[in-house]
């Protein structure tokens, strides 16, 4: 498969050669070690293992992948605009990473459970999360705007990599469910995906999660989007070898895939999830991609990277290469692309409308959700707050009357 670099041989000069090769592979053109099916030119190549998975994608499914990527890019533009207009406190753009997210998310099945970090808006779309609800967190009306029980898409986790351990624990639960159900269980086998990035790969929790996953052979797929920048720090500060190589040290497969190739991402993730569901243990996927925009709307990439690097990655755009392929193979026509654009605008309008309508919560809800069971201190502080707030009741009325009277 060409998915691993050869192990470093500690025999003198070979060490230096290996370091040089690794350094090149971390930031440079990694094609030799990377699964790619659909190139930037829109031509579909082959892979001895993954072409079988790619061949399962029907024309309708391929059009669907394009439509999803276009929708989430349109959503990203709209959310960025909402932030600029003061409707959101912050936005975390995903542009450039559409294929990595849509491809992997669409490879998952409903019974699988997803632990995202905080940029996986594309994966959220594939799990049927209401995208307007996704904005709650960034508007400051909730720390988790959707119910994970409904979509098997967990809440965003902002402390980097903490969720990778939750994912492994959840997968350990799936293993135990299967044993408790015995052979008569009729639940479909499930797996877990843990998303994280190249920056988070340095966190200790990623290491611990991979140790636990390996030790217990847990059905979990580690999906690392290597988007090359952890805010302002490039990947070669996080690692001196391709991140996918790290799997070897834990004893499970590691695959680097072209993260801008939605067909390859889908194929590799589908294979990895099957592998996990069949009880064969974890897989690490490194999706080699690029954060075309800023880390967040508070970031300024011009301070740490050159625009020619961004231009080079724009030439590898995930949407345009699939469009080329769909048109060349006559799988989609102008009417399809026009419809995708219209649907995107409709989604943007819906999101804008809903974001405006998101009501501010009441702090009483915060009191209610500190604990699941009754708690005397929370009750006491809430009672104090109610009494305190009641003291202002008359004043608010007076202020409202004054405003009405035009004072």
């Amino acid at each position: 498969m060409g998915t691993h670099l050869p192990s470093t041989e500690f025999d003198g000069t070979a060490v230096d050669d290996q370091r040089e090769a690794d350094a090149e592979a971390v930031m440079g053109d990694p094609t030799a070690q990377m699964v790619q099916l659909l190139g930037p030119d829109g031509k579909l190549g082959t892979d001895p293992l993954f072409s079988d998975y790619a061949d399962k994608l029907t024309p309708e499914a391929l059009r669907g992948l394009y439509a999803d990527m276009a929708a989430i890019r349109r959503f990203d533009i709209e959310a960025t605009a909402l932030q600029r207009q003061g409707q959101l406190a912050l936005w975390v753009p995903l542009t450039g990473q559409e294929a990595a997210q849509i491809g992997s998310g669409r490879a998952s099945q409903p019974q699988d459970y997803i632990f995202p970090t905080y940029r996986e808006h594309g994966v959220a779309l594939t799990r049927n999360v209401d995208l307007a609800e996704l904005l709650r967190q960034f508007r400051g009306v909730s720390n988790g705007g959707w119910n994970p029980r409904e979509t098997n898409f967990h809440l965003y986790t902002l402390v980097l990599a903490a969720q990778t351990l939750h994912a492994v624990g959840y997968a350990m639960g799936i293993q135990r469910d299967q044993k408790l159900a015995g052979t008569g269980g009729n639940e479909p086998d499930a797996a877990v995906i843990a998303y994280f990035g190249d920056g988070a790969s340095s966190e200790g929790d990623v290491h611990e999660s991979m140790v636990f996953a390996s030790s217990y052979n847990a059905p979990v797929v580690f999906f690392c989007q290597n988007n090359h920048w952890a805010i302002s720090v490039p990947t070669n500060v996080q690692t001196r070898v391709p991140l996918s190589n790290r799997a070897k040290g834990y004893g499970f497969p590691g695959i680097r895939v072209d993260g801008n190739d939605v067909i390859a991402v889908h194929a590799v993730t589908e294979w990895a999830l099957e592998h996990a569901r069949q009880g064969k243990g974890p897989v690490l996927i490194e999706a080699f991609t690029y954060r075309v925009g800023a880390h967040t709307t508070a970031d300024d990439p011009t301070k740490y990277r050159h625009s020619d690097e961004e231009d080079a990655w724009r030439a590898k755009d995930p949407l345009s290469r699939l469009e080329k392929y769909l048109r060349a193979e006559a799988l989609a026509d102008d009417a399809f692309f026009a419809k995708v654009k219209a649907d995107g605008d409709e989604l943007a309008a819906y999101v804008r409308r809903t974001a405006h309508d998101l009501e501010n919560p009441d702090i009483r809800q915060a009191f209610a959700n500190v604990y699941a069971e009754a708690h005397p201190l929370v009750a006491e502080e809430l009672a104090w707050f109610e009494e305190y707030a009641a003291g202002f009741a008359g004043e608010e009325e007076t202020a409202a009357q004054a405003a009405k009277a035009g004072h």
Binding site: S142, P148, A162, G169, Y170, D177, D205, S209, F212, A368
Partner: protein, 326 residues
């Protein structure tokens, strides 16, 4: 009634929980064939197997983090942290994830994880094996903290912690693991609510509040004071978060004087919180300032001087004298 040690009572409580609840499981370092460094899980892996008594990799963040994932899948994990000072690699998972998950999900998710931590000094051990970090966790909304001082409470509290839908940290007084006492396995009786303080000894001149390893010390101090004609009430706090302020307030309204004793440093500690709340709730009943007896503002000292660090009977009696001198 059965007589057993605190360690054995926790062992029996865990056994009862594992037998009654198929979704309960134990996780920790060396808790399998070894039975834990204090043998609290002795024999359980033989009865319930390695899927339910899980020897984990040596990684505390990993233990807490995977326990959160198991809880999200519907399990009730009980994590053992080997020693108090080793909880800190897991501190991030406890404070940023475990404690906040219910609130973050607007009440949609519960994470009923139990964390057992042997705590406190007096065992002559090396660094990181004698600490009392409970205040660091009490400051974190979303977790509950309980600490047994006797075998009966130990037996029931561990089961009550597992039943609770909130995360619960159980601080176990490690130097009292071998303290024997009566356990009623038929029912908790007055220990039905793990978050309620117990008045262990009635008195009229002053109140001593203690918890965990210092409860026997407080009782001994009260007995010694009685020989001097002082009538001292002793309260076993039992729950550190929430704190049963009603019971403490009622006692202070009767005695007018309050001493709070814990092994943890007094600065920023549980005693300070109790002093502040009681001064608000029972200001007019207080005849003297609330006096704290606890550790000093220093890293837990080496074993050969821990006797000078740990509150003992005389330190509590000295505080009592000061309170009564007002």
């Amino acid at each position: 009634m059965t007589t057993m040690t605190i360690a054995k009572a926790i062992n029996e409580g865990l056994r009862a929980t594992l037998a009654a609840n198929p979704k309960a499981l134990l996780m920790g370092e060396d808790i399998g064939p070894l039975g834990g460094v204090y043998r609290v899980t002795d024999g359980l892996i033989g009865e319930f197997g390695p899927d339910r008594v899980v020897d984990t990799p040596l990684a505390e963040s990993g233990i807490i983090g995977t326990a959160i994932g198991l809880a999200l899948r519907g399990y009730s994990p009980v994590c053992e942290i080997q020693f108090d000072g080793f909880v800190f690699p897991g501190f991030n998972q406890i404070t940023t994830q475990l404690a906040k998950m219910h609130a973050r999900s607007n009440g949609n998710l519960t994470v009923p994880v139990v964390i057992r931590i042997p705590y406190g000094g007096g065992i002559g051990s090396v660094e990181h094996h004698s600490e009392s970090p409970e205040a660091l966790f009490a400051h974190t909304a979303g977790v509950r903290i309980i600490t047994p001082s006797n075998p009966h409470d130990a037996y029931w509290m561990i089961q009550q912690a597992v039943e609770c839908q909130d995360p619960v940290i159980v601080f176990e007084p490690k130097r009292r693991y071998w303290l024997k006492g009566e356990v009623d396995v038929a029912g908790p009786g007055p220990s039905a609510d793990p978050f309620k303080a117990h008045v262990l000894r009635e008195g009229t001149d002053a109140t001593i509040v203690a918890y965990g390893p210092l409860v026997p010390v407080a009782l001994a101090a009260a007995n010694a004071a009685e020989e001097d004609g002082r009538s001292v009430e002793v309260i076993d706090l039992r729950s550190i978060s929430p704190i049963d302020f009603d019971t403490v307030t009622a006692s202070v309204q009767k005695t007018g004087r309050l001493i709070v004793a814990h092994e943890a440093p007094t600065f920023g500690g549980i005693g300070g919180e109790i002093a502040a709340r009681i001064s608000e709730r029972a200001f007019h009943s207080l005849e003297a300032p609330v006096i704290r007896v606890g550790g000093f503002h220093m890293p837990y000292p080496v074993a050969k001087v821990e006797e000078d660090y740990l509150p003992d009977i005389d330190r509590i009696l000295e505080a009592l004298d000061r309170a009564l001198s007002y």
